[in-house]
Amino acid sequence: MAEFLSLKEAVSRHINDGDTVAMEGFTHLIPFAAGHEIIRQEKRDLTLIRMTPDLVYDQMIGAGCAKKLIFSWGGNPGVGSLHRLRDAVERGWPNQLEILEHSHAAMACAYEAGAAGLPLAVLRGYIGSDLPKVNDQIKFIECPFTGEKLAAVPSVRPDVSVIHAQRADRKGNVLVEGIIGIQKEAVLAAKRSIVTVEEVVDDLGASVNACVLPSWAITAIAEAPKGAKPSYALGYYDRDNAFYKEWDGIARDRDAFQAWLNENVFENGGA
């Protein structure tokens, strides 16, 4: 059964230095509050997995939490680069960041395979692409029925997955609604999981085939209202597109970034 914890306690207890951590949310429901708590607790040497690193990983990388990033699209959507990510990869600031790069299709399949308990995902992918030349985790297998050559990638099986969701009921069952991305897969693929939620309610109000994660499939739940800001939570608040644009200026400059981090993360205590 999921345990209700403060965000501070959940991060402190379940995320260790050196862990492989997947924080998911495809544009929607990005677990920013959890990311900031990880920064505050100065977790180090994390291998971060995420299809679209987004600002949350730009911030964590800039704060020095990560040693490796596994991803498939590393930009500020509709705006441009993730400058902290680039600074770490290109100039080793604040520390060198190793990257392992996939396509979305491969990562989506790898999460799916992880949730399905399989060691690999098989897809019709990477044909003609140079990505297999720079990612030794991409292999090819032959279909025993048709002889077709198909791509294979290792499944994603993080130590910890962190997602944000709209709400939990008092037993710890969680509803994710709207753009559900790969949140369910991320949680089911991981050894441990932390789910932050907008609110805890008596009744999820879920429709019959809704995306509901049962309490017994989750390790810890922390209430974190507005926990996805500046991304959004359908039914709660909109995406702060203006901040996404503003971030470009903040993140371009190391000092501006550190000032932002101090003011908005370190001195803004969290839960």
Binding site: L123, Y126, I127, N241
Partner: protein, 258 residues
């Protein structure tokens, strides 16, 4: 009487016209998204737009800034998980057109959104592949829209993120279950299509007022022109009005958020 329009508008309108009501289009963010929604709001009201965030048959009022804006979900027929999107809908062969932008494109329509320079020592690091590598091969065909410049149109891309026709034009030959690949590239200067034999991109239509020299100047290889080069039809007043409204709505919406 001729209308006033910019080369960007010319590009978007032309790209929009490539779509029709019967198509199921997997839409990339940015220029493709602008063109696809313009098509939906003008001549192709029933075109089916799919974004990789899982939104099936979406009809946004304003252009999304990201691939997963709430607008896309709220106006969609239904929203599925990202694995389902890539497995059932794209790989499952349900997408007739993949509509992509790019940072670099070469003469065989290979596209590069990974980096400029060497992979380990990049001059410029770009966001990466995202959905494109498998959109490029699993969609029945691919449309590309991108601004024309020598920096973008290079002889050989530095990195093939998403295959067009490979380094030699033959990458799709004898590959089972692969789409036709790029069938048209729409820029702010012209329309290019792959030569049916060699797969090299050739100019098939110049936008009004654009000269061959301008295209040659903006292309990083010795660009060829088709035997018959058409003049692309101008945008209509209606198309321009809808496009400008859409962009104004979009800007107001994204600026207006706190």
């Amino acid at each position: 009487m001729s209308l006033e329009f910019t080369s960007s508008e010319m590009m978007s309108v032309t790209a929009a016209r490539a779509l029709n009501n019967d198509m199921t289009c997997f839409v990339g963010i940015g220029l493709p998204s602008e063109a696809a929604n313009l098509a939906r709001l003008t001549h192709a009201p029933d075109v089916t737009l799919i974004y990789e965030s899982g939104t099936l048959q979406t009809k946004p009022e304003v252009l999304p800034l990201s691939i997963g804006d709430g607008e896309l979900c709220e106006s969609a027929l239904t929203t599925v998980s990202v694995p389902e999107m890539f497995r059932y809908w794209l790989q499952g062969g349900k997408v007739s057109v993949g509509f992509l932008g790019t940072a670099q494109i070469d003469r065989y329509a290979n596209i590069n959104t990974t980096l400029i320079g060497d992979y380990r020592e990049p001059k410029v690091r770009l966001p990466g592949g995202g959905g494109a590598p498998e959109i490029g091969t699993n969609a029945h065909e691919v449309f590309i829209t991108v601004k024309h410049s020598k920096r973008t149109f290079v002889k050989d891309v530095d990195f093939i993120t998403t295959v067009g026709f490979g380094r030699d034009g033959k990458a799709r030959d004898n590959v089972p279950n692969i789409g036709r690949g790029p069938t048209v590239v729409i820029t702010d200067l012209c329309i290019l299509k792959p030569d049916p034999e060699t797969k090299e991109l050739v100019v098939t239509s110049l936008h009004p007022g654009v000269t061959r020299e301008q295209v040659i100047e903006a292309t990083g290889w010795e660009i060829r022109f088709a035997d018959q080069v058409d003049t692309t039809p101008e945008p209509s007043a209606k198309e321009l009005e809808v496009l400008r409204d859409l962009k104004a709505r979009t800007n107001a919406h994204h600026a207006g958020q706190q």
